[in-house]
Symmetry: C2
Amino acid sequence: MARNEQISLGAFIHPAGHHVAAWRHPDVAPDPLNIQQYIQIAQLAERACLDTLFIADSLAVFDSPVAHKMARSNYFEPVTLLATLSAVTRHIGLIATATTSYNQPYHIARQFASLDHLSGGRAGWNLVTSDAANEAANFNREQHFSHQERYLRAREFYQVVEGLWNSWEDDAFVYDKPGGEVYRPEKMHPLHHHGEYFRVRGPLNIARSPQGKPVVVQAGSSEDGKALAAATADVVFTAQPTLDKAKAFYRDVKQRLSLSGRTENSLKIMPGVLLVTGQSQSEAEEKYEQFQQLVEPDVGIALLGRMLGNFDLSGYPPDEPLPELPLSDSGQQSRQALLLALAAEENLTLAELGLRIAGGRGHRTLKGTPQQIADELQCWFEEYAADGFNIMVPHLPQGLEEVALQVVPELQRRGLFRTQYQGSTLRSHLGLTVPAFPPRQ
Amino acid sequence: MARNEQISLGAFIHPAGHHVAAWRHPDVAPDPLNIQQYIQIAQLAERACLDTLFIADSLAVFDSPVAHKMARSNYFEPVTLLATLSAVTRHIGLIATATTSYNQPYHIARQFASLDHLSGGRAGWNLVTSDAANEAANFNREQHFSHQERYLRAREFYQVVEGLWNSWEDDAFVYDKPGGEVYRPEKMHPLHHHGEYFRVRGPLNIARSPQGKPVVVQAGSSEDGKALAAATADVVFTAQPTLDKAKAFYRDVKQRLSLSGRTENSLKIMPGVLLVTGQSQSEAEEKYEQFQQLVEPDVGIALLGRMLGNFDLSGYPPDEPLPELPLSDSGQQSRQALLLALAAEENLTLAELGLRIAGGRGHRTLKGTPQQIADELQCWFEEYAADGFNIMVPHLPQGLEEVALQVVPELQRRGLFRTQYQGSTLRSHLGLTVPAFPPRQ
């Protein structure tokens, strides 16, 4: 399997947009529960032939003294949202985030298999672990799991989910009316999993899904995260600030694949990137500045505390450098390292660093003309820093409209992006094969 | 609140139809994962102005030596299915079954609140407890919970879900752009639940839903089930074989409401009823007989074993009377009593009893002309044996089409059923009020 000759593009969707102050922008309709707006966004992304929509998630409201000043406590549950959008789209992939920390694998296997069937093979699961005490408190626990335990649990969780997705051979269900047989019993394979965290007999109560397995996305960039991704993921979502770091990360993850007997092209690396489009560089800068003006310092600092690993920074002086913080045990370890480096390099105060991440949240930000943005994306793609990108936009649907009408056509002119869908499944868009049913002893 | 002057009607949907042999019928397309067929069914039910669709569920494949001869191991997960259908319907209610035994209340509260927002106020939750070892085995347990523990857990589960649905006052989210405030903090109410089975801090990460709370359905007919329904349910789904028994059940449940300070009309009792429509009584009988011919005796007996409470009856002689069975500890206690009485009254063999329940599964079966069927429904409604009915049909979509085109118009002619929707939420169809946000200390 050769590397795709074209870039993969996902649209990473926060209700009002990715910028922390998006909801305050005069052009934005901030109601996060307006399904018509989501339908508009999904159809816009599909007209642009994007590979997928990608929905983040949390199992709690945002936890901060200024949570009421942030639009992070009211949103659709992602799987139900994407199931709804499956009915009004035909091609675009549908990736939802779901945690392994506070779920049961039977439910997750089932929901994503169901979504894959409902959408004709367009489902993806962004497998995450949960690192926040406020989520733990909604699920019978005082504290979140330790980093190590989260990953042990995640790995076993994935193993169970994958096993359940392979409960039935592809041709198990025959609905043989004259013979009176719904399925061939020898093609049903219970799992009989007995592990450290889970005991699951199986089989799953739904047939193997159109993609063989839904696309699995992983975002961990820690050592544990990279190891898990190399063993299990089809797509890696990551935050990479510079070309050099992105190339190193790319090489690192791709090289790990061979340990799991996988080819380099069986996993797509798609860093996040915040795009701000203008007729000129300065127009793009001004556009972005409009959002930045709407960020109150305490809101930027609260977001920063989350990005650094669930720290409440509200007690620190905003105009002084970042205080010494303990190493995070959260899922934000690599983000913490990235931001500490940035603060040190540019000698930023707490408030300045908060403002810096208000848009991209540690992801790279590109502000410029469609040509300038396309240049950068092309460079990263050709330099093997990325197989594609998860596109973030400051506000929705406007920001995505600009990408769809300006950046995507520029990539298409360069032959770097499809002008129409070739297949109908997410795997086909990403150039990933449908895994064969695994051989049984 | 006066009793509705009209009947409530739900369409109870099994993939190919309610009859155990539906999938073998020559007119039936048996693929249970054909979303286009579900869309057709949902739109058909909506054109007939039905109150709701109603989807059953299980968290395991059917457990029987003849499971491969039964179409009960391959189907959509109900919440994702209904989310998809929400996009292609405008009025009809969407009720999904979800168990309290192998779920966490935060997930359930969230999924149904999300579905309620996605559908504009049409979601319903059929709250059940799980009674089968094959479900337990998919969720880390050797055995299912005892009857008593199931209900203790269910009651606390409901309490948490209801509390989470009331996390936010209706006007909590303001998106005040100039003031920079997304929500009014004093209108957010964490739950801080510390119970026997669950510790859940809350709040839920989604606003209070259009219906205040999604419609809650309960199907338990045991003492525990009736008590739970009277305390918590908006709708009771029940199997009642005769007018007298149905009236007694109706009175019993309605009288219990006052113990919870509720009015009689705050809960709708909707027995299941299998409808087989013909131009004449004998045509309907013949239609039904066509399905019965397709039932292999061991399949009928396997279904019977499940209805009696998870017994494997495959070792007993099919042509002899029902063997002595221990009292069921399953959720099928009342169904067991009903079937034992039927077998004794009519002196039925195991195979005959299996065949008898192959269509209605213990629910009443009406075979006749649209007028005859309407007469029976009208009688039960006027005699206070039912506020409405969950309609089952032998095969789909044909059986439902007959109901929609023949039975519903007959009820409409009699003024017993709406000719157009008056409201847009499931609560409004059922004549149920939106619960006010509960007062806080």
